[in-house]
């Protein structure tokens, strides 16, 4: 990734974070290090504890145990000071439906005690392209526009750290690209961004990633590192009729994972020799082609989600 990033100071540095809801252990010994100016992707299946972890970072939930700092401030004891410098965008739209767009931004600006509040709100509306609709009720915006308004509101007070929980869910491709360009601009300006997402293309745009499943951090690093750590070898199968092929391939020795990508099928396994042998035998005489491709990030994530220990190696 970008040169020099490894020397940047740590903006998030926490270890051993645990959280229970009742007797459900939702976050287990989480450790995260995010450097200044980094865009850090946070991935994992539904219910894996991403939102819970983000909430603990900005003091909305109290961890049961653990320690660390956020922006150099203690996450357990100095949450009030952390809040002032963090922009948190909730997963669910949480601005006030019965306030107008302008009133929502104005309220947030007041809460953060901003000077030159009016100017800041006007500028935000201008940038958002909502200047003409400032007196529309926020509740009447479409889903995607709500997301964009929420982002604008959490950027309003010029935070040093952005915690974005699935900010682009339901946003159209053009707006999504604009959004990521904005994120990269902010990152270049030294703002740190922790963003959770389910989109692979977004994961690939992050400087570094963490993958969490059922409360446990399973992998972290750059996209390449995460893929490499899975030790997957992948073959791409293409041909006229792929229908029902996935099911047939799934049980073969050496095949850990089958994922379809539109008109092709990715078949991956950790033991390259057995994978190759199985596939060659299977494809004999069928009108299908096989090519060697590098494992993709998605292959890696699906593999992680299936549970990493290889069933043949115990």
């Amino acid at each position: 990734m970008e040169a020099g990033m490894n020397d940047s100071p740590l903006v998030i540095d926490v270890t051993g974070i645990n959280k229970h809801f009742g007797d459900k252990h939702v976050v287990k010994d989480l450790a995260l290090q995010v450097r200044r100016g980094e865009i850090f992707g946070f991935l994992g299946p539904n219910g894996s504890g991403k939102t819970t972890s983000i909430r603990m970072l900005c003091g909305l939930l109290t961890p049961d145990s653990g320690q660390g700092t956020c922006l150099g401030l203690d996450v357990l004891r100095e949450s009030a000071a952390i809040k002032r410098q963090v922009g948190y965008m909730t997963q669910k739209f949480s601005l006030w439906d019965d306030l107008t767009i302008g009133e929502n931004l104005d309220f947030v600006a007041r809460m953060f005690g901003m000077e030159r509040r009016r100017e800041a709100v006007d500028r935000a509306l201008e940038e958002l392209g909502l200047a003409g609709r400032r007196s529309q009720l926020a509740g009447t915006l479409s889903g995607g526009w709500k997301q964009r308004l929420a982002l604008a509101s959490c950027l309003l007070h010029r935070p040093r750290l952005l915690l974005l929980d699935e900010p682009t869910a339901g946003v159209d491709p053009k707006a999504r690209r604009d959004f990521w360009e904005e994120i990269h601009r902010l990152s270049a300006a030294g703002i740190t961004v922790l963003v959770s997402t389910h989109y692979m293309d977004e994961a690939e745009r992050c400087h570094r990633l963490a993958y969490i499943a059922y409360g446990t951090l399973l992998a972290s690093g750059t996209a390449e590192q995460v893929v490499a750590a899975q030790g997957l070898h992948t073959r791409e199968i293409s041909g006229a009729s792929l229908h029902g092929l996935g099911e047939a391939l799934r049980g073969l020795p050496g095949v850990d994972l089958v994922a379809s990508f539109g008109n092709v099928l990715h078949v991956s396994g950790r033991d390259e020799a057995r994978l190759q042998a199985s596939l060659e035998a299977f494809l004999q005489g069928k009108p299908l082609e096989m090519a060697v491709v590098p494992a993709s990030l998605e292959d890696a994530f699906i593999h992680l989600m299936q549970g990493s220990p290889d069933p043949f190696q115990g």
């Binding site: 006030w96 309220f107 809460m111």
Partner: protein, 385 residues
């Protein structure tokens, strides 16, 4: 424990930002303005209640069933009974003995029992004001009031033509003894206004603030609010103030209607009255906002409100005379702000009590506020846990 202490000290921290507080206030006002239903409730509840109760205030019921116990039949007594009948206020259901009369009262079959005592005729002729015993079912004091005043007037009208000396004496011709059964305090129609003030304020103030915070939590906006640097004190007081204004508007509506539509007398100092009202509003709002931070959702907040509202209605002296309640009920009643508020407003409005006479009822309300506020600030959740 350490965490507890920390929460506590954070809750009471002196970081109070006026501009943040004002921001919250402004937001509440805007939201209130847009919430037509709530707004309608604020104006509608006092008006509807007033009309309902006001009808009762105004009523001067006639033809009330009355039983006569005639211990001394004579011409005077007979003409008196005839005059009662003619007055339209009474419907004589017949002559009975004492035991029967009591049974009729118990079963609410008559409103009054009028007893002509032995020696009625003799005493009257001698100018010795004989006793006329009136037992009134005073559960509905409004009903009893008008009719009893008629009984007094009738005395002169009936007996004057036959006893010419009567008009010159200053003493009334009859010794009218009224026993108000079932309602010894004889709550009169005017007592409805203080009661109404208290009940309406309790209901709307506790309920509306009770919903204020749970609404944020249910809609998910609480998460956004928590992510800002706003402190519990700022949020709580910022949310309370708009409702203080609403409470004052409600009180003014009720007082204006009481004065100009229903002619309720107002003896006391209005400024003092408003000061007392303000105190009472604060007590209810503090409770509401505390319910709001304890309850998980709006339904729970509503249930808590009614759980509080019911004893307030029943044990404060609004429904039943306070002194007539069993001891334990009086103890519970004394904790409720409404009990003391009723005493205060009755004292100020009807008796013209001054500032020197209110303290004994003010401090229990102050104590209530202090305790509830303490609980509220402690239970205010500054996290989503």
């Amino acid at each position: 424990m350490k965490q507890r202490l920390q929460n506590f000290s954070q809750a009471f921290s002196f970081t109070f930002s006026f501009s943040r507080w004002f921001g919250i206030l402004l937001k509440e006002f805007i939201q209130l303005k847009r919430d037509r239903l709530t707004f309608g409730m604020i104006v509608g509840i006092p008006i509807i209640q007033l009309l309902l109760f006001g009808f009762a205030i105004n009523s001067d019921p006639k033809h009330l069933p009355t039983a006569i116990v005639m211990a001394d039949p004579g011409p005077f007594a007979r003409s008196y009974v005839a005059a009662m009948q003619n007055s339209d206020y009474f419907k004589i259901v017949g002559g009975v003995d004492e035991k029967e009369a009591n049974a009729l009262l118990d079963r609410s079959q008559v409103q009054f029992v009028v007893t002509f005592t032995p020696g009625f005729h003799r005493d009257l002729v001698r100018g010795k004001a004989p006793t006329l015993l009136v037992e009134a079912d005073a559960t509905d004091p409004m009903a009893a009031g008008g009719a009893i005043s008629v009984l007094n007037r009738l005395g002169l009208e009936v007996f004057a033509p036959d006893l010419p000396g009567l008009e010159k004496t200053a003493t009334p011709p009859l010794d009218l003894r009224v026993h108000r059964r079932y309602n010894p305090e004889g709550l009169t129609s005017y007592n409805v206004v203080p009661g109404l003030l208290g009940v309406i304020l309790t209901m709307t103030m506790v309920l509306m603030t009770g919903l204020a915070m749970t609404r944020e939590r249910e809609r998910g906006t609480f998460e956004n609010l928590l992510a800002t640097p706003a402190t519990p004190v700022e949020v709580m007081t910022g949310k309370i103030v708009p409702y203080i204004l609403i409470g004052l508007i409600q009180v003014t509506l009720i007082l204006l209607a009481a004065r100009f539509i229903f002619d309720v007398p107002m003896h006391g100092n209005l400024l003092l009255l408003y000061a007392v009202v303000l105190l009472f509003i604060c007590a209810n709002l503090t409770l509401g906002i505390t319910f709001s931070s304890i309850a998980r959702n709006q339904l729970q907040a509503m249930q808590m409100t009614f759980f509080f509202f019911l004893p307030s209605m029943l044990l404060s002296g609004f429904m039943f005379p306070f002194r007539g309640m069993p001891e334990w009920a009086q103890v519970v009643g004394n904790v409720l702000p409404l009990t003391h508020f009723l005493v205060l407003v009755r004292g100020i409005l009807l008796k013209g009590n001054g500032i020197d006479m209110v303290w004994s009822s003010v401090w229990p309300i102050l104590a209530f506020i202090a305790v509830v506020l303490g609980i509220g600030l402690r239970t205010f959740r500054r996290t989503l846990d």
